[in-house]
Structures are given as C-alpha cells and as structure tokens.
Symmetry: C2
Subunit: 146 residues, 2 copies
C-alpha cells in the first residue's frame, strides 16, 4: 500500500471512530504530508468539511507555487465541491482510493488536465460500503441527496 494512501485511510478510520463519515485525505508536497484531514460533518456539524476540504484547511494558506507541486490523496472520488477546490488551487495530481461507491467529478478534473489515478482499494471500498449500509441517511446528506 502506498504510504500516503495509507495515511488517508488512517484519517478515514479516525473519522469512523469519532462517529463520522469515513473519508480521509492527505496533501503531499515533495514527499511530505503538509495537510491531513477527514470528513467532519458529524463531528463539527459542518457541511463543508469533507475529507479533502479538511486537508486543505489543515495545510493552511499555501502559495500557488506549492499547490502546483502537490498530490492530493483521498479515499473516495472527490465530489464537485472538493474537485472545485482542487481546480481552484491548481493541484495537478489526485490519487483516489476508490470510485465504486461514489463517482465524483473526476471526469471534469481530467478534462482540465489533472492527473487522476484510481486505486480501487479494497479497504476504501469496504469502509464506504459498510458505512453506507449502516447510515444511508447520513451518507445521502453528505452528498446532497437527502
């Protein structure tokens, strides 16, 4: 397992332990994690703290010169909000744990020239399948469906 995807999975599991949606993310610059986070909808009562957004917040204010050398790892395909943040800050490379349980705006990112790798990682898929089965209403809320 790639150590950065493992760090994103560790974040997702931390979120699950806190009673939250198990999606995690890390932002990597020159081989170092500069931001890490997980979905905090439940924990913070926030609709904007998806895993990727929480990682951006943790990385803090960065110049464009840093963002353009970053890779963002996320356990789940990034939704339109998170993809929009990736687009805004010009992150050139996204590594996605899986897109089987939810397909985000990957196609849009690829059209913009962003490199998107999808691992279809069994742990990521299992985390989401189990969560969606146990908390369908929370999951639908997180993606604006209910």
């Amino acid at each position: 397992m790639d150590k950065f995807m493992q760090a994103a999975i560790d974040e997702a599991k931390k979120g699950l332990e806190e009673g939250g949606v198990p999606i995690g993310s890390v932002i990597v610059h020159n081989g170092e994690i500069i931001g890490r986070g997980h979905n905090r909808r439940v924990q913070s009562g926030s609709p904007i703290l998806h895993g990727e957004m929480d990682a951006f917040a943790d990385a803090g204010r960065q110049p464009a010169s840093v963002y353009k050398e970053c890779v963002i790892y996320t356990t789940l395909s990034p939704c339109t909000m998170c993809s929009g943040a990736i687009e805004l800050y010009g992150i050139p490379h996204v590594v996605v744990g899986e897109n089987q349980t939810f397909m985000g705006a990957e196609g849009r990112l690829r059209q913009l020239g962003v490199k998107v790798d999808v691992l279809q990682d069994a742990t990521c898929i299992d985390l989401m399948n189990t969560f969606i089965r146990n908390h369908p209403e929370l999951w639908d809320e997180d993606i604006g469906k209910s």
Copy 2:
C-alpha cells in the same frame, strides 16, 4: 438595494474591517437568512473559507429539501470551489453582486440549470477594486494565482 444582497455586503464590510478579503454571502430559505459569512482567509488562516463556504458552514447541516429551496447571495462571482458546493447541495438560485473584478464558474452553474443573476452592484465592485489595488498578492492567493 435588495435586503439580502445588502446583508451580504454587510458581511463583506465586516471582513474588510477585520483585515480580510471583502467578500460576503448569505443563504436564504423561505425569505429568511439561515446562514451568513465572509471570507476568512486572513482571519482564520484558512484557504477553504471563502464567503460562500463560510455561509454554508454557518447554515450547518441542512437536508436536500431545504437546499433546493434556497437562494445564495454572494458579493462576488463564485469560484470553482464555491460553485462546486452550490452544485453539490443543489442550490437552484445564485444572486451575484458583481463579476467584473473576477469571473467565477457561473457558466458551469448555468449549464447545470442553476439560475444566476448578476447585479453589477457599484458597492461590490468598489469593495473589490479597492482591495485588489491595496492587496494584490492577497487577492492572487485567494484565487490560487500566486
């Protein structure tokens, strides 16, 4: 002046007084403001707290049935991140103070069927023109340009 755009402008001015980027937003449901906020890049050191995102955070967790009846007011054309949040939560109507100093992802929103009204409000334009003249580096950072 529409009272809701006035409330968004009040938020933008509050941000300016705090030393921040003067962009404000309110989310309105059935004629009542359910979320309000302003850009907090400087105040919170956060790259994700654009005005619209701060208003979403302030509104808290809402069901899709509420979002689909909301109007979001923002003093400036919404960037890809904020437009992505508007898309995720299915907000059907966006009222924009101005898009002369910055053109966001309005076109994308319209293509998705979102109603986008642009007021080209003189106060909104002046707030941004003055801010960009005084803090060009901060503005470029806020839109991922430097």
